[in-house]
Assembly symmetry: D3
Homo-oligomer: 132 residues x 6
């Protein structure tokens, strides 16, 4: 798995730009040899190969991910991409609408889990106020 | 998403009656505008539209949900419906049998996760004694 | 996998009674050594172990299966259990209500696929008239 | 399930406009009482409630659906929404990019099945030429 | 998505060797520009990057795929890998045991669908005799 | 569900041998009547029936489980089988390769969740050093 170097190099700045340099530096910096396996895969294939394709803009990819990760039932990854959506200029209203759209297609329990995960990030990032 | 008012009003008392007024009041009371999106959806579609249809009794819907949520891999929602099953008069023996039935169809790891989630609720609700 | 003989013997008459002797005889009769692997497993674990447990009646197990197989996305197995549901005395109205209930929890595409599969069986079995 | 009339009426013209009047007329016209259960649900919940919410434009909802239905493993529904995507002005290049994006998140077998389903529709609709 | 050339070149002979040159030539030869998107992805990522990694032998990867594709519910891809398993020297008895193992973890309906898909290939390839 | 005694007795020593006697004793010892339902099922069906079949060796079953549990999205069960894989003589390099293989088939979010779960066990078991 040594032939993905060009895609890794292409993906790294895109990943930083969408998820934030702090998060990416922490993920790569804390990774031992075992975890570097998936870090390289995610950066090369997810960010270099998929996100690096100019055929879709970042805003559209973020919108897609909100609903697709709801369907896949992956709350950890969904949280990262809620933050990425904010960085890509998507509003809280649009995130809410994407998750409601996904609820109709994935069912209510999937929707509830996605809303809870997204809400946690939105409050932490200051995009919606913490309730007193 | 403003046309679901009648279904929301129909679903709210059913939801209270199955999941408990305390839980429902807390969920709605703590919901900000973002979370009200899914709270309305769940109440209108899940409780008003599905549970509000008299073609199946509540006991049957509870039995279905125990196995269906095992299949969907949604432990948070499963826990709510274990409590709902108790409120609908389903016994611990029947909950156990429904989850074993689901294990044959969904596989052992799905069964193990469902049993753990259900057990936590059953002990908390006093339906089975906490082990010393 | 030779220790499941008692469960196989217990499950076979239950399977016949729910799915019909014709279907079961055909499945077992046409099975070569390879397919007997899963035929034995399904009969012993599904029918002897799960359905053979008296803690839930057959009607309840049928209702559960309609929704659970919708969640699992298994149209072939769902069709068998729609026929089984009819044999267990469940009405077309109840099958419809169970699949609508499942649609709220599993999403609209899962619901559409389940309705189509169930409809095919209901027409074939004469439970609803074929449209002219 | 009689309280969803307003959402059904709101959803019907949107569904016609995205999926084509011919398809929708055929679906509703051929539906007996059993199938009308899911036809009403899909129209009211999917089209009236989700698509009818102006917070996201149709183009974005189409893009989301291509990837989300790949994740859900629902080829029949995906095919409908490939046609809908064309009707909403999405290009073949964008459909391809959305499915490749989904492949990175859902895995190669999900991607292969989605490409095959989409390809069938694109050729049938004349959006890409049939190979000689 | 132009940076995966080295992995495509690495993956192509492995894919040919496991799935058969005839099948691979047909897949690539019949692919238009749209389908080449996923053909390149599958060859580069699946065959060059994953199968091309010497840390696991082909036999082990075939065994893994039989159970993993049962879990994912992808019968088309499973069929390809049943043929690949035969090419990699795996016996019919071992394929049967892998699918029974998967049945315990994925549930009976997943097992039934996998056995049917595998059986079709095994008969077609002459690995088990067609029943008269 | 009383006819699975022979399989339970056959499975128990295999389960102990793969997952460790301490873990198994704790699971069975802490189980009340409710939890014994799934403990018996897992031991009889998973360990007696599946693992007890000599047609596949334990090493192969461990390799299969790493990828299959990634596909199923069951991190708790995956953790147990990472420990089991170590007990069955599988190296950290092989575990890494199996999870990368699974990532290509199940998608990047499934891969990330599996790597995190596996990493936690590998550090706890001392198979890879904790990072300072």
């Amino acid at each position: 798995m040594s032939d993905d170097g060009a895609l890794f190099d292409k993906g790294l700045p895109i990943r930083r730009s969408v998820l934030g340099s702090d998060y990416v530096d922490r993920s790569l910096g804390s990774a031992d040899d075992f975890m570097m396996g998936i870090q390289r895969a995610a950066t090369a294939w997810g960010w270099g190969w998929a996100w690096g394709d100019p055929a879709l803009d970042r805003r559209t990819r973020s919108m897609i991910n909100l609903a697709m990760l709801t369907a896949l039932g992956r709350p950890h990854e969904l949280k990262l991409h809620v933050k990425g959506a904010l960085n890509n200029g998507i509003t809280v209203e649009e995130i809410k609408a994407a998750l409601l759209h996904a609820t109709a297609y994935c069912g209510i329990p999937a929707g509830l889990d996605a809303f809870k995960a997204a809400h946690e990030v939105l409050v932490k990032e200051g995009a919606i106020p913490a309730k007193e």
